[in-house]
Point group: C2
Chain length 308, copies 2
């Protein structure tokens, strides 16, 4: 029985799952802790592809943290964490997002503005002088590919490519571009996913000037494929909006081959969303050429527009 | 002209000054930035002793940050930072305190629960493969000695002693215990200091359940020396309380040889302070045997008592 749970954000993506697994391994093997990587949801199709490729089991899904201390990866805000986060002590954080965090005591809090938490962890393993097992290196490489869209997202930093190249080598991936395209495409098989899963599979909640804004993102190789299911998606967004008290639900539909996105917006504040990107919404839809990063290209202009 | 100011907290202590100097050196020499270490106040007697010993000038004192980006060391809370902190972007933080921080974007935020920021920085120089100049190593060694009271404070961690030993060696300090005692004693020559300087020389403001609590600390080799000036100290505390709107002013008078402290409390909430430490206050004074660390032994019980 572990005495420290390690987990990433809700609606886990590949970086969240891989970083939780790698952090638990690092804490147990370099720092003699007794931690367990868990998840706040089932792996998405992309993560499942990577886990299968590297012959690893998905972390156990928890609803509640039941250890007195926890270690967060790939998030630091309570709204994105386990529901009972206020009842446990955060002993450490590895993250690469904006910070909204309070603690009662000093802790390990390592936040770096790099493309993925996996890139940070690659450095932490090096610093600790700990070898990364091949399958874990494969998951970390997959996480970098996923978060940076194969080093093409504007969130990519000069530290990500060397980390990816080194991790791919450790993992025995001969051509990380070829593997990366396979991985990303595995995440875009949308036909088998429900509308609920598409809007929630990679969604986060943000407080923007008092408004509760839900922002989901779907990667695809054909935006029209997604908008063919528009009525169904809008209904699911509307249902969740009412059920969870969101003011606005924004779905970012991203073409990973062209590096463009289309937005679909449901709920209040449509004027603010339009103003944020300098576009007009046509029945809640707008095209955003060149936009692929929620963190870097979607949340900051929305924050500014909601505070204007 | 630097484009990134690096500074520690108000009422700077040796760790704040040394860490700002070392961080600027690290950023400029390992990361090609153009930063300048500055301070939010003049060095105290202890820091002045260390600067003189290692033949270094004190950092320039600023009232306002005038670069768009800043780098914080040894603090992360706005209440302990430069007055116009809300107008600038925090690009990075090296700290070892509890966290109360929000940002609009990801940043470098390295917080570790070690005895001093200097200990963290020793690791950062190692990680960057950058040699530490002898005089800077002397300042960092002084910072560890200061923050851990020569490794005797309960804030001391297993990482601090090896860092101190290594830094002392780099600095050419033959016997760091002997140097450390000299350094700490240099900070306790209270006769030449005004009451205002004694209460404010190492003071921080905390919001405890809505109450504004000012906590100053004075190191001495004889507690009675300080309490001989009690009337004068209480008057200064009362004046500052009224002027700055504090609800409570607590002065922690610490005997660095015996590792004990006496409290002097002015203002409201005397019952809560008494409850926090399970003592009775006699005319605002109480003895706290074994208490030397504001961070670890004073603020946490006060926080609990104010929230009870």
């Amino acid at each position: 029985m572990a005495d420290l749970l390690v987990f990433g954000h809700k609606s886990p993506d590949t970086d969240t799952i891989a970083s939780a697994m790698a952090t638990a391994y690092l804490l147990n093997n370099a720092y003699n802790l007794n931690s367990e990587a868990v998840a706040l949801g089932e792996p998405n199709a992309e993560t499942a592809f990577a886990l299968k490729h590297f012959d690893l089991a998905a972390p156990r899904v928890i609803q509640k943290a039941d250890t007195p201390e926890v270690f967060l990866v790939d998030h630091n805000e309570a709204s994105q964490s386990v529901d009972n986060i206020a009842d446990v002590t955060v002993a450490g954080v590895y993250d690469h997002h904006k910070i909204n965090f309070q603690s009662a005591a000093p802790l390990w809090f390592i936040n770096k503005p790099l493309g993925s938490v996996a890139t940070i962890l690659y450095g932490e393993f090096q610093q600790a002088g700990l070898d990364i097992p091949a399958n874990l290196a494969g998951m970390l490489a997959s996480a970098i590919i996923s978060d940076t869209l194969l080093l093409k997202s504007p969130t990519t930093t000069p530290m990500d490519q060397p980390a990816l190249a080194a991790l791919a080598k450790l993992a025995g991936i001969e051509d990380y571009e070829a593997y990366g395209l396979e991985l990303l495409k595995a995440g875009t098989d949308l036909s088998s996913r429900t509308a609920q899963d598409l809007i929630d599979g990679d969604a986060k909640t943000f407080e923007l000037n008092g408004q509760k804004v839900r922002i989901g993102q779907v990667n695809t190789v054909d935006v029209d494929d997604v908008f063919a299911r528009r009525a169904e998606l809008e209904a699911a967004m509307q249902t969740e909006l009412s059920a969870d008290g969101y003011d606005t639900f924004i779905l970012v539909v991203t073409n990973i081959l062209d590096s463009d996105s289309d937005l679909l917006v449901v709920g209040d504040n449509q004027d603010k969303v339009a103003a944020a990107f300098g576009v007009e919404l046509t029945e809640g839809r707008a095209s955003l050429p060149g936009v692929v990063s929620r963190k870097k290209q979607v949340v900051p202009p929305l924050t500014a527009a909601f505070e204007a």
